[in-house]
């Protein structure tokens, strides 16, 4: 009972293809489109926006000589990094070491398959969409573990172990908090979660506030954002990378193309985190005046900006404190939230 035709159907419809051929071509073209949209966004975010934002927090200017506003840095950084020597240190565990940089970005990209980006841009809308998104996102930590043990580097190993610890500790609150939204929405299907949020909550002076779950349950939203920060490994939870402690954490030994892939993966992951948050709590692509896709982009960039802000202004937690907050704080709070939501929904409905 899809509310809207998903992207592959639209494409195959446009091309006039039907049956299996239509599914395959539509699926491939759609996946290609979405992957490229995300890669372009990441390209802006990684070498350019991140520098500009960090610089703005520190009263600096950052890149402004190479092209307008330094935008050509995106090209130069990408080409340079790709053209560098790929160092394969002695003693690395070869297949794992080579696979890890693929796993990290592609798992994050996979998550975007079920995200409704507005204007009918959605690759698939399965019944278990939300579960799929979380599952895909958490494969990235497998990649991090692979980098860690395969690198034959102690700093990488510590970084990877930290990543595992953080993933286990924060994935549960993240999913449990999301479950409270599912109770409201009554479905795991992404498009339905979005649709439920379109109804008006209340009207103040002519402005209608929709039932975005961030307004309905701001507490859950806060929990989700915090868990999400930990999930994507940004301050105050950037312990897997922790530059001043363990050099560059799990990515210490990676250079050239592999480094680009890992770097890319991290940014896509941030965007995926933002996308899930936007879908669950901020009405997905909903918003006035502008088309849905623009709103969706604004929302995930807002989350990106938030991570960069946190990175510039908040100290890093120590690993034990980090886990303590995860297990003793977030977990308890997220379950409390779930139970309360269930009771409220049960009583009202």
């Amino acid at each position: 009972m899809s509310l809207q035709a998903v992207l592959p159907d639209t494409i195959s419809g446009l091309l006039g293809l039907e049956g299996i051929l239509g599914d395959v071509v539509g699926g491939l073209v759609g996946a290609f489109l979405i992957a490229n949209i995300m890669l372009i966004m990441t390209a802006f975010a990684g070498p350019w926006a991140k520098r500009k934002i960090t610089a703005a927090f520190g009263d600096r200017i950052a890149v402004n000589r190479i092209g307008p506003f330094g935008l050509l840095t995106i090209v130069t950084d990408a080409v340079r990094l790709l053209s560098k020597e790929l160092i394969v240190p002695e003693g690395v565990d070869r297949p794992a070491w080579d696979l890890a940089p693929m796993v990290i970005p592609f798992s994050a990209l996979l998550g975007f398959a079920v995200i409704p980006m507005g204007n009918g841009i959605q690759l698939a809308d399965p019944e278990t969409g939300l579960a799929f998104a979380f599952a895909a996102a958490s494969i990235a930590s497998l990649g991090i573990v692979m980098t860690g043990y395969a690198s034959n580097n102690k700093f990488s190993l510590i970084g990877a172990l930290r990543a595992v610890a953080s993933n286990i500790a924060y994935e549960i609150p993240l999913v449990v908090t999301a479950a409270s939204v599912v109770i409201f929405a009554g479905s795991l299907r992404m498009s339905e979660i979005v649709a439920v949020q379109a109804e008006p909550l209340l009207s103040v002076a002519g402005v209608t506030i929709p039932t975005w779950f961030a307004f309905v349950n701001p507490f859950a939203f806060a929990l989700f954002i915090i868990a999400n920060l930990a999930e994507v490994g940004r301050n105050p939870f950037d312990i897997p990378e922790a530059p001043t402690e363990i050099v560059a954490g799990f990515q210490t030994e990676y250079s050239s193309v592999y480094f680009v892939l890992i770097y890319l993966g991290e940014f896509i992951h941030i965007f995926l985190g933002g996308a899930i948050a936007a879908t669950l709590f901020l009405g997905g692509p909903a918003g006035p005046v502008l088309p849905g896709f623009v709103w969706f982009t604004i929302k995930i960039w807002a989350f990106f900006l938030f991570t960069q802000w946190a990175r510039s202004a908040i100290p890093r937690l120590r690993v034990d404190q980090f886990l303590e907050i995860g297990w003793k704080g977030m977990l308890v709070l997220s379950f409390a939230n779930l139970v309360l939501t269930a009771i409220i929904v049960g009583v009202i409905v």
Binding site: D59, N235, V247, A313, R318
Partner: protein
């Protein structure tokens, strides 16, 4: 005091009343085999196999609880170690314990059981001069590579002989030691190239999971032979540029003052009051610049990247550097002090210069407020720093920790007040002490010291502004060549940015010092790192290292 009464029938009293040296010699009795007179303190000559007895007595019975420095040197006929002792409660009460050893068997008893700080100091003496210390827990080279041949500050060292340095993978010293049954330790090298070591420090760390179980700082990656350089320079001009490069975090004037004070006392030069005020003002500006970096890099260590606080600290520091550049002509390596004063007067137009300083001082409280908002009142930072890296005052004293590190452990010790020099005793300011003993206290001490420094600068500017124009005497009359008398020895210290920065000079009648020894505060402070970090987490170790605020240029010299 009962000691003095016992001394009243001592023959030495006839000359100048009861001298401190006689009192202490009496206390030590037979242990003293000779006497020397240093310009700063009486010298007691002790036999090399009785060092511990003598030091124990001086520490426990006469209260000398601060082993400031160990100087080693080679004479034509003997080696000599000098232990410069003083008290944390009374800095002006000093004594030098002189331990001569023979040329062919330079073995002397170690002072390590008495003062923990002697560990590194004696290793340095062994490394550079070649005196062996019996009973020392770990006597190996400290500044030079393990495979170095010869002792470079010895008299017959040939600088042209080839040397070999190794690039070794270090083995885990605890590998075989499965203390807790199935515990498994891992050895990691933190440094010498690591983003958090503030230069080229090498911390050999053994971790059990995330916890540090054993830690050894390996230094010497920036050993630039500062002592040799100073021994090759003439007193009057050639030595002064080097102090700038010891503690290079813009503490230049503070370091220069250490040399200026020592050499001026050695050659008996009186510095005009006007010059003293300029010195005081410049030195405190340097202290602010230095503490700003300490703050910025500490934030870097705890926050993990070149973030806002680091940038803000840099911004404020840039202003200080501009003021100092106006005053001295250089941004970092000032070379502004001269023996007997400073090299030139304040820049013209003076009003503009004062205005610049005033603007800075006026805006400083606001800037500090911002730092307090962003750093000290941040709960995560408090969770990270309060109660971590604990350094109890007794341990700090035993390691000879000074400066903000000691004051963060509740030790009320500041040479500017306790052994006053310059213009400090005429001004109104406070010694900042925090008794939390942890990383947070050390951070707070630095931030509050910036306020105190601003107060001092404010007063100096007021004084300088009203100074009559015809009395602006920036330099005393100093002979063109300084040749202090042979065998005069002096040890003097000032309060550098990191703590007690002392210099020992022995003159040999020429215009160059025969022995020039630098007592670096960071060298002693860094020794406390294992005490603070063992059993803690890696991030806390990094934070502790940041809160010690070491400068490798000064640690290694």
């Amino acid at each position: 005091m009962s000691l003095e009464e016992q001394q009243s029938d001592d023959p030495a009293e006839l000359e100048s009343g009861v001298s401190r040296g006689d009192e202490l010699a009496d206390l030590l009795g037979d242990l003293v085999v000779g006497r020397e007179e240093h310009l700063n303190a009486p010298g007691l000559v002790i036999r090399p196999d009785e060092v511990q007895d003598a030091l124990f007595k001086l520490r426990d019975e006469a209260g000398f609880d601060h082993l400031s420095c160990v100087t080693a040197q080679e004479y034509e006929d003997r080696y000599e170690s000098i232990y410069h002792l003083t008290k944390f409660d009374d800095r002006t009460d000093e004594v030098s314990v002189v331990v001569p050893t023979s040329k062919d068997n330079p073995v002397s008893q170690s002072a390590e059981p008495v003062f923990r700080t002697a560990d590194w100091h004696e290793r340095e003496a062994y490394d550079l001069v070649g005196i062996q210390y019996e009973d020392h827990p770990d006597l190996r080279r400290i500044l030079l590579p393990d495979t170095w041949q010869g002792h470079p500050l010895g008299l017959d060292y040939d600088q042209d002989r080839p040397q070999i340095a190794t690039l070794r993978e270090h083995a885990n010293p605890l590998e075989e030691d499965h203390r807790a049954g199935d515990s498994n330790t891992m050895y990691i090298n933190i440094g010498p190239h690591h983003p958090a070591t503030h230069g080229v420090l090498h911390v050999e760390t053994v971790v059990d999971g995330e916890q540090v179980v054993d830690l050894d700082s390996d230094i010497g990656y920036l050993h630039r032979c500062e002592e040799q350089m100073c021994q090759q320079g003439t007193y009057r001009h050639q030595i002064m540029p080097y102090p700038d490069r010891w503690d290079y975090i813009s503490a230049g004037l503070l370091n220069e003052w250490a040399y200026a004070r020592t050499a001026e006392d050695l050659a008996d030069i009186e510095v005009p009051e006007y010059a003293q005020i300029i010195r005081t003002m410049g030195a405190e500006l340097c202290r602010i610049a230095s503490h700003m970096i300490a703050l910025g890099t500490f934030a870097l260590d705890v926050y993990g990247d070149f973030t806002a606080i680091f940038m803000y600290a840099m911004r404020d520091r840039e202003i200080v550097q501009n003021i100092l550049e106006d005053l001295t002509g250089q941004r970092m390596m000032f070379n502004y002090f001269r023996l007997g004063g400073v090299v030139w007067d304040l820049p013209e137009p003076r009003e503009e210069f004062f205005e610049k300083i005033r603007d800075f001082i006026d805006e400083l409280p606001q800037a500090l407020e911002e730092y307090h908002d962003m750093i000290t009142s941040n709960e995560i930072l408090q969770a990270r720093t309060v109660g971590t890296g604990v350094l109890p005052p007794e341990v700090a004293k035993s390691y000879g920790a000074t400066g903000p590190v000691a004051r963060g452990s509740g030790i009320d010790y500041d040479l500017r007040r306790d052994d006053s020099y310059g213009y400090y005793d005429e001004l109104d300011w406070d010694v900042v002490v925090e008794d939390g003993c942890d990383n947070f206290s050390r951070l707070l001490v630095r931030m509050r010291e910036v306020e105190e420094s601003a107060k001092i600068i404010q007063q100096c500017v007021d004084l300088l502004e009203d100074w009559p124009e015809d009395e602006r005497n920036i330099q005393a009359n100093v002979p063109r060549t300084l040749k202090p008398e042979e065998d005069t020895e002096i040890y003097r210290a000032v309060e550098g940015a990191k703590g007690e920065l002392g210099i020992y000079i022995r003159a040999d009648g020429t215009d160059k010092p025969a022995r020039f020894k630098i007592r670096s505060p960071c060298f002693s402070n860094l020794q406390t790192l294992p005490e603070m970090s063992e059993g803690e987490y890696i991030p806390d170790m990094i934070a502790s290292l940041g809160s010690l605020d070491i400068v490798l240029g000064e640690v290694d010299r």
